[in-house]
Amino acid sequence: MNFELDTEQDMLRATVRDLLSGAYDVESRNRVAESDLGWNRDVWKQLAELGVLGLPFAEEHGGMGAGPVEVMAVMTEIGRALAPEPVLDCVYLPGRLVAEVGTDAQRSDIIPRLSEGTALLAFAHDEPGSRWPHTEVATTAARDGDSWTLSGRKNPVLHGDCADTLIVSAKLPEGGIGLFVVDAGADGLTRTPYRTHDERRGAQVVLENVAATSLGEGADASTAIITAQVHAQAALCAETVGALDSSVQLTTSYLKQRKQFGVPLSMFQALTHRAADMYVLYELASSMSLYATMALADGIVDPTIASRAKLQVGRSARKIGQESVQMHGGIGVTAEHSIGHYLSRLTAIEHTLGTMDDHLRVLAGGVKDYELVEIAGM
């Protein structure tokens, strides 16, 4: 058993950390967040040049052929720096669907461009009024010979504002859920971009008989969607752990600096004990994030493990996020300080791909199926 990154993985992490910590401080991040795009194309280009964007894709498609552990390393740094670049939303998540479901031609067309940073995808799957995990979508796909048209509403589509191509899920005429490639500028497609509370971007997408190409052969893609979501949940857990590390560090250094009643806050045991609790929650979140990633690296794709990780990581994030702001006092609720932005991002992640209650519901539904709770794959 080994929980450490190897030398190459550690180098990757250090490189991404250097790049992002050089690119972002509170001011530059706020500036970028104010821009229309909400993220920085120069940083994107550098991520592409480092191979970060192509990381999880096969070498034959211009990727780096790396695995979940490398993705975790990158996502942790994105979380640590609170970097707004949509690596998961526009590349890793939809890219995995293309890699798994797409035809050879689609893969060779799309994945090299994703890896180079020249193509941006978004996965349009969630629909108004539905919650994870949903196994059905209301958007329909209609077939006419070899061509398809889609109708329905998708929201939220994370980073659907900037994507040039959408991967859209829709109900197949013969049952099951198919995946489709849709040009973001296609006729009949209305896209309403918006800002999310964590200063990211999203869009609502309405499709009215929009021309679409099926991703792959048009078969049911439910399993591939679940697999992609399990990978994305692990990635979000890793991003959270990075953000939690920063939150704990910012808070402890604030406790040491900030004086009240003539002494640093760190002299008050009530506060140091709460900081200790934050540290404990951080380590528990790290452990579960590692579990989710390492299981995937061992070839175990198990939504239950993803739920376990996302539940614990969510619990840790909620508490650490709130405590961090509380211990910063008034400055914690201003946009001029980072700590509140971390809380906002953590809250957004909690509500993506299943809330804590959603995951607890999954786990509670399964308690009768086994006697002892055990680590899978050990």
């Binding site: 929980f3 190897d6 061992d298 308690v367 050990m378």
Partner: protein
């Protein structure tokens, strides 16, 4: 990164699992699983079986009966012990005084005590805490004054666990009253039947007797029973307490409790189904299981990353969370038992035995966040040694 145990580790685990579930008396394991207090004979019998296979004191030096195991093997051993509901080797012997004598004792002292300690021929108790020296252990007042070849000990200890069974005590005493707190302390070993030693059992809220007050009145202890040098007792105490904290998470034991909780909940009628079908109960159970799994993974991270078995400050985390989850599991069992937990004494009534044991166990388990360095002390350790606060 790799989550899997090696082939060798798996074989090791399977071998231990078989041994523990076939060679350790089933009645003792059943008592341990249900929280029924064990008798002295149970502890002695189990420890001797374990010791005969080199499984009682694996953390000791090999020449004194230890094993040259990796931290992962030690963790597997502990985990399998708990999963099989085998009582731990007596902690006062196996993880407290034994390692201290092996580390600090003279050759004569090692030969005299270590084999008997490993085999539980001597039952030790720990004379550390005093009425005014709990978490602030260095405030202890029990005095030892040199008189020729002996020390004369006067004072009082408290919370002396299972002292009613003990043959010998390892005792912290103040040998230099003028030195600063920690600097004037020594460790003495002496038999509990030495003239001047008296014990008073303290009844606990579960109705049982587990801890005692121990009084010393002009107790004469030969100077050869001093561990290491005079006034170095604090070093030995810190060494001992560091060992005490590792393995205190008791993840395996809590897993067994939760598995029992499931089976009892499945037998408890609720509406047209069982308590286990209730979504609120299932959610509470699932949450606990998940927290336990997060703790287990954290423990494995510490084990897999521990170099040379050096104490890791994260062991405070394991102690804190481990004790909280032990308590949460006992609390869950009490709540499953509900009204059946109320009858305490009588055997011939219709409340099942397990249900009537839940409240005493729950009440008794309030201790786990207090002993071994209270959880408040652990928070202070984390704040200072990990966060630098």
């Amino acid at each position: 990164m790799n989550l899997k145990l090696t082939e060798e580790e798996r074989a090791f685990r399977d071998e231990l699992r078989t041994f523990f579930t076939t060679e350790i008396p089933a009645d003792v394991r059943a008592k341990t699983a249900s929280g029924t207090p064990l008798g002295k004979d149970d502890y002695v019998a189990v420890q001797r079986i374990l010791h005969s296979r080199g499984l009682a004191v694996p953390n000791w030096p090999v020449e004194w009966g230890g094993q040259d195991w990796t931290p992962m093997q030690r963790n597997i051993w502990l985990s399998e012990l708990q999963l099989a509901s085998v009582p731990d080797p007596l902690p006062f012997n196996a993880s407290m005084i034994g390692p201290v004598i092996a580390q600090f004792g003279s050759q004569e002292m090692k030969e005299r005590f270590l084999p008997a300690t490993a085999n539980l021929d001597i039952w030790w108790c720990q004379g550390f805490s005093e009425p005014e020296a709990g978490s602030d252990l260095a405030s202890l007042k029990t005095r030892a004054v040199r008189d020729g070849d002996d020390y004369i000990v006067n004072g009082q200890k408290t919370w002396t666990t299972l002292a009613q069974h003990a043959d010998w005590i390892f005792c912290l005493v103040r040998t230099d009253p003028n030195a600063k707190k920690q600097a004037g302390i020594s460790m003495l070993l002496f038999p509990m039947d030495t003239p001047g030693v008296t014990r008073r059992p303290i009844k606990l809220i579960d109705g049982g007797y587990e801890v005692n007050e121990v009084f010393f009145e002009d107790v004469r202890v030969p100077a050869e029973n001093l561990v290491g040098e005079e006034n170095t007792g604090w070093t030995q105490a810190k060494f001992l307490l560091g060992n005490e904290r590792t393995g205190i998470a008791r993840v395996g034991a809590t897993k067994v409790k939760l598995a029992r909780a499931k089976s009892f909940a499945a037998e408890t009628r609720l509406g047209s189904g069982s308590l286990l079908d209730d979504p609120i109960f299932a959610a509470r159970l699932a949450e606990l299981e998940n927290e336990l799994l997060a703790l287990e993974l954290t423990q494995l991270r510490v084990v897999a990353g521990s170099a040379d078995g050096k104490p890791n400050p994260a062991s405070s985390l394991l102690k804190m969370r481990g004790s909280e989850l032990q308590q949460a599991a006992t609390e869950l069992l009490v709540d499953i038992a509900g009204p059946d937990s109320l009858p305490a004494g009588e055997a011939d009534i219709d409340s099942p035995d397990w249900a009537r044991l839940t409240t005493p166990t729950y009440l008794n388990n309030r201790k786990v966040t207090i002993y071994g360095g209270s959880n408040e002390v652990q928070r202070s350790i984390i704040a200072s040694s990990i966060l630098g606060l």
